[in-house]
Symmetry: C2
């Protein structure tokens, strides 16, 4: 039976497999906290990247205050695994999901969630009232700081705050504003400029709410591309970077090489193709996502990867390269880390080629 | 606890969820077998679409002869669930994978696999010899009929057949040639013409091998876009359609509406976005793939879907549509069915809105 174990060599893994270089990952973690903790903000890493309570605990040990998840079903898994200081960064909408939130909150009282509509806030409050739970759940108003995906416009925040104040089972503790549209702005200066402009919207909204008497303790925002700017913008109390731990080729194009590519997909050459400078590997759309471009062969700048269906991809190369025999193994750097991790069931984490840890991707597929 | 059950109404499902309209699915299955069985070919559906032994058994009951899988790890799951007449359509390469093949073959002797290199054939043979298993495994030579992904060129088939004949534990039973590059050719006439030209390569290779004394019983090929042409091409004995059971918007553009969209992803409007004719739903890159374009809202030709990250998407519409309130539910037709199914853990199969079956996507993530 195929049953990889810590102590096995990387070479013994079947492919495709998702592997993590522990030295590089630990360096990324150390760099992030070295950068952010001295600013005094809370670092609440977004766990939508790693999808793993094991990795969440490593981040908490390094200085993180809890974590973020995108979806309620991710929070269920994290809490059950002992990571219960969790902010759900997407709106919880619909009777089934609200019922799940109530059940989760019954057991885990640290849960925080966001709201961006009166309907949404009222529904959560009604379900909590009906549940007999007496404590209010902590909520943050989600503010649209330019991404136009979720969040109330800054000028609508006050009305929503006043509405929340009428609800017995919701306690407003802060605001969230995610500038997702700025994470991949190329060029550090331009990204900083746009980020700080976006953060003005968020902190001004927080100030306005405070002036109206609301107790806004948390102002949370930021990703890997902007966390360092957010953390030094007055009024921001918390940042949510996620991808820094593994990185991807799309992020590197924007933010450079401060963080290393610590995660790759290892693959095998399974066939010679009809063209002379191409072979076929066993990793396709089911192993590497394409929404942000194609994956890149690691340490092989003259070799390109092209997906060829769900289970295959081409490696193509220029004249200076000899080629790849059948059975050769290559590592690929994902173009977009979060959805790539979502395709895999396990991390095989190694140090210098020897597997140390096998972590399940515990919240993989938790889209609800 | 969230625990959907047969008998529940579709409305009670949390979102995003993957749902199947059983009436439409059964009609698709009936149409396929009505089209193909009278031609006399075997129908060996490609189970990389459904990823479910439950659905494989439904197809076998309808007339299928076993099934195909792309990867060895899918075959392991199918065999353990009682679906053991399986052809693995990708080359099995690398020591770990070959060892898994040997262990599978030890228990399930009907397994067939493909080879396209002497190295690959020799490695499988060596592992079988060393295992002490006496029976030979049935293999097919994979022929490149124009896709240039895997497969030996037609003119290389004879040399490979002669090599296989020297190997004690491999029994050559046929040839495979997948014309994947033709599945989505638009226009029935053009697709038929290119398909028949491609099939000439395959059947001529089979004839050549027979003339050289090889016993070529199986000539297997074809997908949803070409199966009807393959099935009526002299010399083809088996076809491998998969997507017909659910269809997707990309296939519809090529092959038309003979098969219906029986699978959709149901999603919820969770936020108003900043623009007037757009709302945000809770389905993004983690629920719907984008490699073949974006998903389409079902029965809403004037509404478009745009992914907005891993967990969100926009619905946008023209002037004639009133809009969508928060909490509204919409169904989306995937653009590419196989990798979309791979994102989900369960099928919720309903008839007229009442759930009848909940099938696990048992080979989801089986990329090895």
């Amino acid at each position: 039976m195929y049953d990889p174990k810590p102590g096995d060599r990387l070479d013994s893994l079947d492919t495709p497999s998702m592997i993590v270089d522990l030295d590089l990952m630990e360096e990324n973690i150390a760099k992030l906290f070295h950068l952010l903790l001295p600013t005094g903000v809370n670092v609440r890493p977004h766990l939508k990247t790693t999808k793993s309570p094991d990795l969440a605990k490593i981040l908490i040990a390094a200085g993180a205050k809890g974590g973020c998840v995108a979806k309620l079903s991710e929070a269920e898994v994290m809490c059950a695994a002992g990571v219960d200081d969790i902010l759900i960064t997407c709106e919880v909408v619909g009777p089934a999901k609200v019922a799940r939130l109530v059940e989760l909150f019954r057991k885990y009282r640290k849960i925080q969630t966001v709201v961006d509509s009166q309907e949404g806030a009222t529904a959560i409050n009604g379900a909590l009232e009906a549940s007999g739970i007496e404590a209010p759940i902590q909520v943050l108003i989600d503010i649209d700081v330019g991404l136009h995906r979720t969040g109330v416009a800054p000028e609508g925040a006050l009305a929503l705050a006043k509405h929340i104040a009428t609800l017995s089972h919701l306690k407003l503790i802060g605001v969230q504003g995610y500038e997702g549209h700025l994470q991949h702005v190329h060029g550090r200066e331009q990204r900083e400029k746009e980020c700080r402009a976006s953060m003005v919207l968020l902190s001004a909204t927080a100030t306005l709410l405070r002036e109206e008497g609301f107790n806004i303790e948390v102002v949370t925002t930021g990703g890997t591309g902007t966390a360092e700017f957010c953390a030094t913008t007055p009024g921001i109390t918390e940042v949510q970077p996620g991808s820094f731990i593994f990185m991807d080729s799309d992020y590197r194009k924007a933010v450079g090489t401060y963080f290393s590519h610590s995660l790759t997909i290892i693959s095998t050459v399974i066939s010679k193709s009809a063209t002379e400078r191409t072979v076929t590997i066993d990793a396709g759309l089911k192993s590497l996502t394409t929404d942000s471009g194609f994956a890149e062969p690691k340490d092989m700048p003259d070799v390109t990867y092209t997906p060829m269906g769900d289970e295959h991809g081409w490696l193509s190369w220029g004249e200076d390269i000899e080629g790849f025999p059948i059975g050769a193994r290559v590592e690929l750097i994902p173009s977009h880390i979060d959805p790539t991790v979502n395709l895999h069931d396990f991390y095989y984490a190694h140090r210098k080629g020897v597997i140390e840890e096998i972590w399940p991707v515990a919240t993989r597929g938790k889209v609800q």
